[in-house]
């Protein structure tokens, strides 16, 4: 089988391969009944009801798009609502139903007139025709009570093929399942194109009617750089795409101007550690030790923990392995600890608060296992680092540190199990910055710790007072909120000129569109899900520190989430 190439307009500089799925949203109309059987008043009321339904759908989609993509992309839905309620449309539909047309046909005919008018014009005007089509099809779908073609539940790695994609269509797309899309119509500034760029989805638009020859379930490559759709690609073509999207680099990486950045992985289980190695992580930036404690009847013994930590350290003999001490409470529950029911678990006794309180014995056991593992692990230049979660006071830090010293000296004087006696070096010690308190206290904290690791998920949640799991406040809990950025900025600036280095282990660290910003701020370590490591390593290499610092200066001026999003978009190469 030979591969076939179709040319269109590439709208996002990325490629992907996947399985073609044709999406045909346009509802079909049946022949209308005879005019004398139509009750004009009934049809008019059907139209009004459908219009109301359409409006509330549009308002919902507006909110979803604002949250998922951005305010400026969401504004198109305002225009849709205005077209929906336009007096000219209203009078057109009214006179059509009075003359005996069913509501569906009245809508179709009234809109078509304006669609033709707009299509005859150039540029932006022609795109308004897309908007009108979108509103028309929505009304007809509601009137004919037909199911909406569902774009949200396509199989993973689908490449969506369509005549065109409207904002309502793209609002439903699940970027985790869609590998890219190709459309018959549309240009560089069409909604679909803008959407593709903002979500970093490969897309080719305006391919023309030849696209219709591609069968559903064909294997295709969408090359958003060259603007080509390749059908039945050869193994070489597919491999080229695979390499481009996920070039695994096992060596550590530096920015274009030579600043080395540690790109590490977040892990919870042994399987995660293996994935981290396979994706070229430099080390472990967040070992969630609570995973050892979950789903079992009693806590792991010191010996079991020792083995686990030691094996993690030996998996990255030349890298840094940061182990976070037990982070229980909040949304993580453990049966044998008999945790109290709290009204606000996220503001309750969790993290270091428990380790210095009811779980002190568990904490000491964990520290012993950690220190012994650090002493005994056979590594090269690799090091163990320990960090504590949910810090909000200096005392928590000094108490935890004192406890580490005590445990270290106990191991030294008494020895443990069969391990050789001897001096136990205290590991590098750091704190998670995830409460507003810790960000405010960052200047004082630098006297007590070797490093900060910014946990953006909790930091965003606590700074914005917006719960992570609550969809209604998702936009608020976003790390592109200026208040969240300022908390991060404050933390990094506090460490400038001190011996404290700053890393990050939240979702933000794994988002390649944030890499430049984070490097510009002065972070030297980024830790993320293993799968994100290759992309972020590439993003590091594409960054220049001086340009990144200029971006930071601009973002410092930004006062809204939209401004931050648009600054980030324009800086993406």
């Amino acid at each position: 089988m030979t591969e076939q190439r179709l040319n269109g307009v590439g709208v996002s500089p990325i490629s992907a391969s996947g399985t073609a799925i044709w999406y045909t949203p346009e509802p079909t109309l049946t022949d209308p009944p005879a005019p004398e059987t139509i009750d004009g008043d009934d049809e008019w009321n059907r139209f009004l009801t459908a219009r109301q339904t359409a409006k509330s759908e549009l308002q919902d989609e507006r909110e979803q798009t604002a949250a998922a993509v951005g305010e400026s992309e969401a504004e198109v839905f305002d225009a849709h609502i205005q077209f929906l309620e336009d007096p000219q449309i209203e009078s057109g539909v009214e006179s059509a139903v009075e003359s005996g047309r069913p509501a569906e046909h009245a809508v179709s005919e009234t809109f078509s007139e304006f669609i033709e008018q707009f299509e005859g014009m150039s540029g932006q005007m022609a795109e308004r025709a897309d908007d009108l089509r979108d509103v028309r099809d929505r009304l007809i779908r509601i009137l004919s009570d037909s199911e909406r073609a569902d774009l949200s539940s396509v199989p993973p790695d689908s490449v969506i093929f369509a005549e065109r994609l409207t904002p309502s269509d793209t609002a439903q797309l699940d970027p985790d399942r869609v590998a890219g899309f190709a459309t018959v119509a549309g240009g560089r500034t069409s909604h679909a194109a803008i959407f593709a760029r903002s979500l970093a989805l490969p897309a080719v638009v305006g391919v023309g009617t030849e696209l219709n020859t591609v069968a559903t379930e064909s294997t295709v490559v969408v090359d958003g750089t060259a603007g080509t759709v390749i059908i039945d690609p050869t193994a070489e073509t597919q491999a080229a795409v695979g390499n481009e999207s996920i070039a695994i680099q096992t060596e550590s990486v530096s920015t274009g101007d030579g600043h080395s950045i540690e790109v590490a992985a977040n892990v919870g289980t042994n399987a995660d550690i293996q994935t981290a190695q396979e994706h070229g992580a430099d080390g472990i930036g967040l070992f969630r030790s609570e995973f050892l404690f979950l789903d079992r009847a009693e806590p792991p013994t010191e010996a079991e923990q020792y083995e686990t930590y030691r094996s993690a350290l030996e998996s990255f003999p030349d890298g840094r392995v940061i182990i976070r001490t037990l982070d229980i409470g909040g949304d993580k529950q453990i049966e044998y600890l008999d945790l109290p029911t709290e009204e606000n678990p996220f503001l309750g006794e969790r993290g270091i608060r428990r380790s210095l309180g009811p779980d002190e014995d568990l904490f000491k056991t964990q520290l012993r296992a950690l220190l012994r593992a650090g002493r005994d692990a056979k590594t090269g230049s690799g090091t163990l680092a320990v960090m504590i979660p949910l810090v909000s006071t200096i005392e928590e830090v000094t108490d935890a540190r004192a406890m580490i010293e005590t445990v270290a000296s106990n191991i030294e004087t008494k020895g443990v199990d069969d391990a050789p006696d001897g001096r136990v070096e205290t590991p590098e010690f750091g704190v998670m910055i995830e409460t507003p308190a810790s960000a405010f206290l960052a200047p004082a904290l630098t006297d007590h710790v070797d490093f900060f690791s910014i946990g953006t998920n909790d930091l965003a949640q606590y700074v914005m007072a917006a719960e992570r799991g609550n969809d209604h406040v998702r936009t608020l809990g976003d790390y592109r909120q200026p208040a969240v950025f300022r908390a991060i900025d404050t933390t990094v600036r506090a460490a400038e000129g001190t011996d404290t280095w700053v890393g990050m282990c939240g979702e933000m660290a794994g988002d390649p569109s944030m890499t430049e910003l984070l490097i510009g701020l002065g972070l030297t370590e980024l830790s993320m899900s293993a799968v994100s490591v290759p992309r972020v390593k590439t993003a590091v290499q594409e960054t220049s520190v001086s340009e990144a610092q200029a971006l930071v200066e601009n973002i410092r001026e930004a006062t809204t989430q939209d401004m931050i999003k648009s600054l980030l978009r324009t800086s993406v190469r």
Partner: protein, 89 residues
């Protein structure tokens, strides 16, 4: 009938966000508002279709007329939108 002539400042002309804002504002007043290119047939400013259909671009001179109790207030607000850069809307 009170009327004003204004040179359109928003980069997108009367499209997208400026158009949405313009139509939304025209709907907020009781006055009947019309808009159009000078010496051309004006259209209903409360209609998104009609306003977009004018194909007004940045730099065009347009005429806005209003009739009704709050005509002057409507003209103030609508001409402000037409003479404000898009990013400040």
């Amino acid at each position: 009938m009170p009327e004003r002539v204004v040179t359109v400042v928003p980069e997108d002309g009367l499209h997208a966000r400026p158009a949405s804002k313009f139509v939304e504002t025209a709907n907020e007043f009781d006055a009947e508002v019309q808009v159009g290119h000078i010496d051309d047939n004006p259209v209903n400013a409360a209609s998104m279709l009609a306003v977009t259909g004018l194909a007004v671009t940045c730099g065009d001179d347009v005429q806005v007329r209003a009739e009704g109790p709050d005509a002057d207030a409507a003209l103030d607000e609508l001409t402000r939108i037409l003479s404000t850069p898009e990013e400040d809307l």
